[in-house]
């Protein structure tokens, strides 16, 4: 295996990291403010991408307008889920909340074929073509679309993180994450914070799904399932209790999987998940997680 092959593999799979980072950001935000693992993250995103695909391919809408509408719809769906369901289920136990999101997965997955039909949509790339370049005598290339995905993901995640640490909203999120009751007593409107997190999660998910579809070319009901599972794995690997841990996990997972696949493409998934399992067994709070103190 030459260095060139490895670098090229990383470049060819970089878009997966971009997509996963966006999805994981949504999962992480919801986890920190609602204290539940949102299994519906992938499905909220799928609704958005289906809307975009249906609007552009069936009704011939402008692609950018379709993308915007898809993102807005997922945004509103996230808001709706929080306001109508999660907010009402405050007294439900942690596992109960998890189950509610699983129920939502089942509902949305069943509704999508009813609304959008059962035939998968095709989805074109935003930009065609490759960029060829060479570093130290090695010829490498990256698809322009892949670069776009990386760029969009980097910009969105950077904006979210800057707002997390330097805006009033970010302060609210961090306060809610550390202790919801105390935060609400200090005058933070935790309801708005939580609702915002859900809607941003929906929006981020939709962007991730649209970018994913633009690279893979098709839109179907189960396209975000593996992203969802990997998003959870990334969060567990990085540590749910930090904001940046899941993001680092989300970058690591697809890249590692791709590199392992050079050596052994058949078992790359098994090897990757087993390694994550081992890491989590050794460090149950994840790579960057803080140890939490248990009170009796």
């Amino acid at each position: 295996m030459t260095l060139q092959t490895i670098l090229q593999t990383i470049l060819s799979n970089a878009h997966l990291a971009g997509v996963l980072v966006l999805a994981t950001t949504g999962i992480m935000l919801v986890f920190r403010t609602s204290f539940t693992t949102n299994f519906a993250q992938g499905m909220m995103a799928t609704v958005g991408v289906f809307t975009t695909a249906a609007l552009t391919s069936k009704m011939g809408l402008n692609i950018w307008l379709g993308v915007a509408l898809g993102i807005v719809l997922s945004f509103l769906l996230g808001l709706f889920i929080d306001v109508a369901i999660i907010r009402k289920a405050r007294k439900v136990s942690v596992v109960g909340k998890q189950m509610i999101t699983m129920g939502l997965v089942i509902i949305i997955a069943a509704l999508i074929p009813l609304i959008y039909g059962t035939i998968p949509y095709e989805f074109g790339r935003f930009i065609d073509g490759n960029i060829d370049f060479s570093i130290g005598g090695m010829d490498l290339f990256i698809t322009k679309n892949g670069l776009l995905i990386l760029g969009v993901a980097a910009v969105i995640v950077t904006i979210i993180f800057i707002s997390l640490y330097f805006t009033k909203w970010g302060l609210g999120v961090r306060a809610t994450a550390s202790n919801e009751t105390v935060a609400s007593m200090m005058g933070i409107n935790t309801r708005v914070i939580t609702a915002m997190s859900w809607s941003i999660a929906g929006g981020c998910g939709a962007v991730a799904a649209i970018l994913m579809a633009s690279q893979s070319g098709t839109v179907d009901n189960s396209m975000m399932v593996s992203v969802q599972v990997n998003g959870f794995m990334a969060s567990v690997l990085g540590g749910f209790s930090s904001f940046y841990g899941p993001i680092i996990g989300a970058v690591l997972i697809p890249i590692t999987k791709a590199v392992v696949a050079i050596y052994n493409s058949l078992w790359s998934g098994v090897i990757l998940y087993s390694v994550i399992l081992l890491v989590v067994l050794i460090k149950p709070r994840g790579l960057f997680g803080k140890k939490d103190v248990k009170k009796v």
């Binding site: 596992v95 509610i100 129920g103 509902i107 997955a109 069943a110 794995m233 969060s235 998940y273």
Partner: protein, 361 residues
Amino acid sequence: MANEYRKELINDRSKKAKQIVSHPLFGFVILTIILAGVQLLFMFTEDIISLTVSKAIAQTLIYAIVGMGFAILLGYAGLASLGTAGFIGLGSYIAGNMLKLIPFPVPYILIIGAVIIAGIVLGGVVGFISLRIEGMYLAIITLGLSEILLELFKTPNQFTGGASGLKSVPWAKLAMFYEMDREKMFFLILGVLFITIVFTINIINSPTGRAMLAMKNSQSAAQAMGISILKYRLLAFVLATIYAMIGGALYVTYLRASNTSSWTLALSLNVLAAVIIGGYRSVWGVLMGTFVIFGLDLAVLKNIDFFNKYPGSSAIFSGVLIVLIVMFYPGGLIRLFADIKTLIKSGIEKWKVYRYGKDYK
């Protein structure tokens, strides 16, 4: 004198009848007999009960076995797992390969035994993992474990058949010679279900069940009372895994095929949904939940043209039910009966007060 003796005899008889009726297993025996009757009806005339319904009932019963294990895990030990589908799948592949690869006829008890041993090993591993990782993390880690298993199934090899799965598994032999077929398998499933029910009820009502319940309510308090967390967590996971694997073995010997597309997250979610909807604290609840989630879907909804046109859309009912029940009716559907009973009782009481005045007693 003779008259009194007769009275006593009648009294004695009615007492005995009451004892039989109030026995905790009485209802399950009746249920088993009814289900066997349905199958007999199907075997003699296909007019009333079609093959689809018979198949649907058998599959539902298999998932009820799996659900029972899950109920012990979730309702009694308080551990959430999303690895169920992977475990069922593994059980099905083990049983299917035993039937396919071993040249001489394999007795069924050997298949069940092998599956149970595999269940103990795998359940023990997951149990040890659960000692380190708790709560929501555990659900995600078990999901990861299920993904590992699914990847293993999907990888093309001679044991799992890759993405196309196991096909045309031969019928099992009950003893060395008695060959099964689809009709006879139904009764075997029913028998296994009954044994599972008896076993589960005994576990739940034994010190083991109570220790698990204590562990669920407060781990620290349970530990302080001398309950070994290690022992009961391992036991809960081992039991749930064994149940799931037996379910898998029954599945592959009944349907004679095992497909990777069956063992995805959706199945784990459905088992979870069944247990939650029915009520995870009682065996009746689990049975009810599986009939609502799997039975209704397989036997009724899938045959309606509208849902046939849009595959997967019939699941919307179970999704809505999960959300509503978790939010507003945490005891599950099984609580419905108790609630109706108290409603009727209080209604009768009110009517009596109205009819005879406040001190009618």
